[in-house]
């Protein structure tokens, strides 16, 4: 328990240092709030947004969208990555289009995605999906390809069918890379969200940032950025990092840090 606490403190420390630097710089150079807000201003914006309940609404809406888009993306990307890692024909066929589409930004898709998936939720989900999908696919593919051949052979000659091969060998074997893929992808999902919430919304963190930007409310912008950063840190620390510890580090597939 004590070590848990100290590791949490150690985790927070660098961030605290960052806040301190920020506070000192803004105070000592007397930075104009339009250029960068002060720590108290951001704190006040936070308190106020909590008090009037809008922040909770924005966070709730954004989290919902992120969750749907990300889960969908992972559900499609992981099997696809595995199929490509296992089967050369699938890989040869899918590689060109995947490469092609992987650079097409979410916002570029908005007009077309709107036609296909409807304006609002559909298009936003698509943009998030688009941010997560490619990273997870490529990382899964790499993960599958780095499983030593004898390990797959061993499973095959112990009678593992395709399904068992998937769940017992390919998934756990590719897990280190899948987790990294999700970590990268989720980060981009947040970015995609901010871009996508410019459309068809009246709630969400992206919307909040957008409106704040129009009125130069930098303290709200920075507050929004921090909220996003913290939510993301929490997700990573409460979901991804423990998953890593319990699986790939435990199994000795990567070294603990």
């Amino acid at each position: 328990m004590a070590s848990r606490l100290s590791s949490t403190l150690l985790f927070i420390l660098p961030l605290a240092v960052l806040v301190a630097v920020w506070a000192v710089i803004v105070a000592s150079f007397d930075v104009n709030p339009r250029i960068f807000p002060s720590v108290p201003a951001v704190w006040n914006a936070f308190v106020e947004a909590i008090r009037d309940g809008t922040l909770i609404q924005h966070v709730g809406a954004s989290l919902g969208r992120i969750a749907v888009g990300t889960v969908l993306a992972i559900l499609v990307a992981v099997p696809l990555g595995i199929a490509m890692g296992v089967n050369k024909i699938v890989a040869d066929f899918l590689n060109p289009p995947l490469r092609f589409f992987s650079v097409l930004a979410g916002i570029a898709w908005i007009p077309i995605a709107t036609l296909w998936f409807g304006y609002g939720f559909g298009a936003i989900t698509f943009v998030i999906f688009n941010a997560v999908f490619f990273v997870v696919t490529y990382n899964t593919l790499l993960g599958v390809s780095t499983i030593p051949k004898p390990v797959r052979n061993a499973a095959a000659s112990l009678g593992a069918g395709p399904w068992a091969m998937l769940t017992e060998v390919l998934l756990p074997g590719a897990l280190p890379n899948i987790v990294t893929g999700i970590r990268t992808g989720l980060g981009f999902a947040w970015r995609g969200l901010i871009a996508a919430e410019m459309i068809a919304t009246n709630v969400g963190l992206g919307y909040m940032l957008f409106v704040a930007r129009d009125f130069y409310r930098t303290e709200v912008i920075v507050m929004g950025m921090i909220v996003i950063g913290i939510i993301w840190l929490l997700i990573d620390r409460l979901v991804l990092a423990p998953l890593e510890r319990r699986t790939i580090e435990r199994w000795g597939m990567v070294r603990a840090t």
Binding site: I35, S102, I112, Y138, N139, L142, R191, I228, G229
Partner: protein
Amino acid sequence: MNVLLPIWSGYVRLTTRFPIVQTLVPFIPVIALWWIVSAAEVFPKVFFPGPVEVWKSFVSLTYKGILPDYLEDSLIRLAVGALCGIALGIPLGILIGVSKRAHTALWPVVLFFQAIGDIAWLPILLIWFGFGLTTMTFVIVYTVMFPVIFNTVLGVRSVPLDLFRAAQSLGASKFAILKEVTLPGALPNIITGLRNGLGFGWRALIATEIIVGTSGIGFLMFDARRAGSVVEIMLGMIILGTLWYIVDAWILAPIERATGQRWGTVQK
């Protein structure tokens, strides 16, 4: 099935003779679908133009010389940003992967900033750096860096411990270990990191060119969009996709084949 088999084996033979076929064939269904949907006017033509319209706009923009100029601008911006991003991302990733202290100090910060999108930074960056290459480079670097860092860290952490030990007891210095063990060991992951990072770098470029640029493919796409023309958006997307395809297929994939696959650390 019996009918398909000779067709399939013919296709395989064709692809081994002409690898370009392998690249092009998968796009046939995509383009065909696009063509059919647009020709059937499932959506009004203005909102969903077909291949012909896009081709026409390609020809006319190339003829006017706009497209080549814009392309050059975009590519230079991307190259500058990507190179800086890689030059920062790989060393940082290795540092975090190798040193526990660096991990403690940097990991939370890296995670934190990863989620804060480039777009959120833009207004502040514009005031800091103005409208220009610096701002665009910053955004691209910011985008490219994170996937490269994450994958490099993973790569470093999954190099078998015995290999470091072997190098150490053969007298390898810290730097030699980095060069001879850590880097090659992490390479398959680094390449996937580059693939993801550069892919997102393109995206970031597009996003910044909307606001910061007066030229470039992103500018082209969004300038057109501000006037409600979807054709240029599609054209821009095709150009981007094609360019990236070339970068990936001509640079990254060959490196992959010559390293991880050659060494047997990555299955083909």
